[in-house]
Symmetry: C2
Subunit: 154 residues, 2 copies
C-alpha cells in the first residue's frame, strides 16, 4: 500500500527546491534535471500547483516558478488532496440500502475517525518542516553528501 504516489512525491521535492530559493524563479527544466523528475511530468504538477495557489510563475526567458507562500502553510495533506484526492478509508463498509442508519453507525464513525487521524498526521508535515529537517540532516554530517547543496542548490 503506497501512501504517496509519484506525483505527490515529485511535488514535494519541487516545493522543497522552490522553498529553498524562495523569492527567485526556478525553471521547470532546472528542477527536473537536479531532482531526476521527468520534465513534462513535472511541468504538469507545477501548473496544477499554480491553480491551487501554492506557487506562481513567470513566462519567457528567465521565467520559471516561485514560491510566495509561507512554506509552513503547505502541508502534505494538501498535496495528497490535490494529487490523490481526499483521504477516504472506504466509501462505506456496507451498501446503503441495508445500512440505512448511517448517522448513528458506529462502524462509520470508526472509519471517519481513522481518516482524521491520518489527515492530521500529514497536516503536521509541512514543506517548511521538511526543509528544516533537510538542513538539520545536512549539518549533522557535513562531510558526507551535502543534501541541501546537492539536492537544492547544485
Amino acid at each position: 500500500m503506497k501512501v504517496l504516489t509519484k506525483n505527490t512525491d515529485y511535488a514535494i521535492r519541487a516545493l522543497l527546491a522552490l522553498a529553498a530559493k524562495k523569492g527567485s524563479y526556478l525553471s521547470a527544466k532546472s528542477i527536473a534535471t537536479e531532482h531526476d523528475i521527468p520534465y513534462q511530468f513535472l511541468r504538469r504538477l507545477l501548473q496544477e500547483m499554480i491553480r491551487h495557489n501554492l506557487i506562481v510563475s513567470k513566462e519567457g526567458v528567465q521565467g520559471g516558478f516561485m514560491m510566495e507562500k509561507d512554506p509552513d502553510a503547505i502541508s502534505v495533506t494538501q498535496l495528497i488532496e490535490i494529487f490523490q484526492g481526499k483521504v477516504q478509508v472506504s466509501e462505506c463498509m456496507f451498501r446503503k440500502q441495508i445500512c440505512n442508519n448511517r448517522a448513528r453507525c458506529v462502524l462509520r464513525h470508526e472509519i471517519m475517525r481513522i481518516e482524521q487521524v491520518v489527515q492530521r498526521e500529514f497536516e503536521k508535515v509541512t514543506i517548511g518542516k521538511l526543509l528544516r529537517d533537510l538542513q538539520v540532516a545536512n549539518k549533522v554530517e557535513p562531510q558526507s553528501a551535502n543534501i541541501e547543496q546537492a539536492v537544492l542548490n547544485p
Copy 2:
C-alpha cells in the same frame, strides 16, 4: 486516496459474516449472495485468507469456510498487508545516490513515524471490534434496518 481497496473491504465483510457464525461452515456462495460480493472474486480472497491462517475450509457438500481464530486477533492492518501490501509512505524521498546518510536522515524518520501511526490505528480495529460495533448499532435502533440480521444472518 482510497485507503481500503475492494478486496480488503470484501475480506472484512466476509470475516464479519464468519465471525458472527463462528464454529460453523459458511459456503462462499452464501456469503457472496448475502453481501453482494462477486462470487469468484470472493473465493480467491477466502483462499488467500486460508493461506494466511485466518480461516479454515472444508471441501465438498456442506463444506465451506469457518473461523477458528479469535476475531480480536485479526486486525485491519493484517488484511491491508495481505491484500494491499505493507503500508509504506514513500520508498524514499530522495534518490539513494544523493541522500546517502539514510541512517540519520530526519526526513526518513518522519516518514517512518507516520507509517507506524497509520499501522497502529488500523491495528486497533479488529474483526471482533467491528462485529461488536455492528451489534451496538443494531441495538440502538432495533426498529430500523436490523444490520446484524440483515447483513450477517439474513
